[in-house]
Amino acid sequence: MPEFQAAGVRPVAISVDSTQTSANLRRDAGYSFTFLSDPATEVIRRYHLLHPAGGPDKHDIARPAEFLVDPHGVVRWVNFTEDIRVRARAGEMLAAAQKIQ
């Protein structure tokens, strides 16, 4: 993640996982960026990213999505994968971040 810091990008991960589950993932994966928990899918719904019954035991989860938001709160780049096995590459996000001034 030092590339993101060098590019001035603050990564923030959001999922339905509890704060404890996210804390474990963050520690085990060695990540230092912010993980936020939305078990009630309140923010996931606000962003229209709900995947109803998409998780184990038919739990509601978020469909994968990435947004670059500038300091004014405006979305500058998005990535909505159509296949959960295909995810955005760090290079794509960094290239998009370079274009924000």
């Binding site: 993101f4 810091q5 001035g8 990008v9 603050r10 990564p11 923030v12 991960a13 959001i14 999922s15 339905v16 996982d17 704060t19 996210s22 804390a23 963050r26 912010t34 993980f35 936020l36 928990s37 309140e42 923010v43 606000r46 962003y47 229209h48 990213l49 995947h51 109803p52 998409g54 998780g55 184990p56 739990h59 989860i61 978020a62 469909r63 994968p64 999505a65 990435e66 947004f67 670059l68 938001v69 500038d70 300091p71 709160g73 405006v74 979305v75 500058r76 998005v78 909505f80 994968t81 159509e82 296949d83 959960i84 096995r85 295909v86 995810r87 590459r89 971040a97 924000i100 001034q101």
Partner: protein
């Protein structure tokens, strides 16, 4: 008086289609590892994966037809059936994987480029409430406010 062992049919050939199919099955299984490599053009991988599992099935069926139509020339009928079963199951599994991994809601209602990202407040791993408007303004490790916040929504349950 011993019966002489019949001379092998000079036309007897090995069923190369089966060997090629077997090799392709291995390649197809290994191709799944490509999903973990963030290569350009990755969006084509699910389709490449499907084709790689379909090819050996086609070859095995062709090989099986040969052993049935010309059993005196092509051996390996049992192997053909086994390979046909294996590649059939693997192909069915790859179709199922494609269906499951693409069966996600569309994101046409989600915030698009140029729109404002809705503000929110959620707890971080320490349970502390964090607001998007703070994430946009508070300095990052280099001491300056970020040029951008990268919001990553993920499926969870890791």
């Amino acid at each position: 008086m011993s019966t002489p062992t019949p001379a092998p049919d000079p036309r007897l050939r090995s069923n190369k289609l089966l060997w090629i199919a077997g090799a392709l099955i291995v390649v197809a299984v290994l191709s799944n590892a490509l999903f973990f490599v963030k290569v350009p053009g990755q969006h084509l991988l699910p389709w490449l994966n499907l084709v790689l599992f379909a090819l050996p099935l086609v070859l095995v069926i062709a090989g099986l037809r040969r052993t049935i139509a010309e059993p005196r020339i092509y051996r390996g009928r049992t192997a053909s059936w086994l390979l046909a079963g294996l590649s059939g199951v693997l192909f069915a599994f790859s179709v199922f994987a494609l269906y499951v991994s693409r069966n996600i809601p569309d994101a046409s209602s989600a915030p698009q480029v140029g729109q404002t990202a809705p503000d929110f407040t959620l707890p971080d791993t320490a349970g502390k409430p964090v607001a998007l408007h703070d994430l946009l303004l508070l300095p990052i490790a280099n001491g300056a406010p970020p040029k951008a916040v990268l919001l990553v929504f993920y499926r969870g349950y890791w």
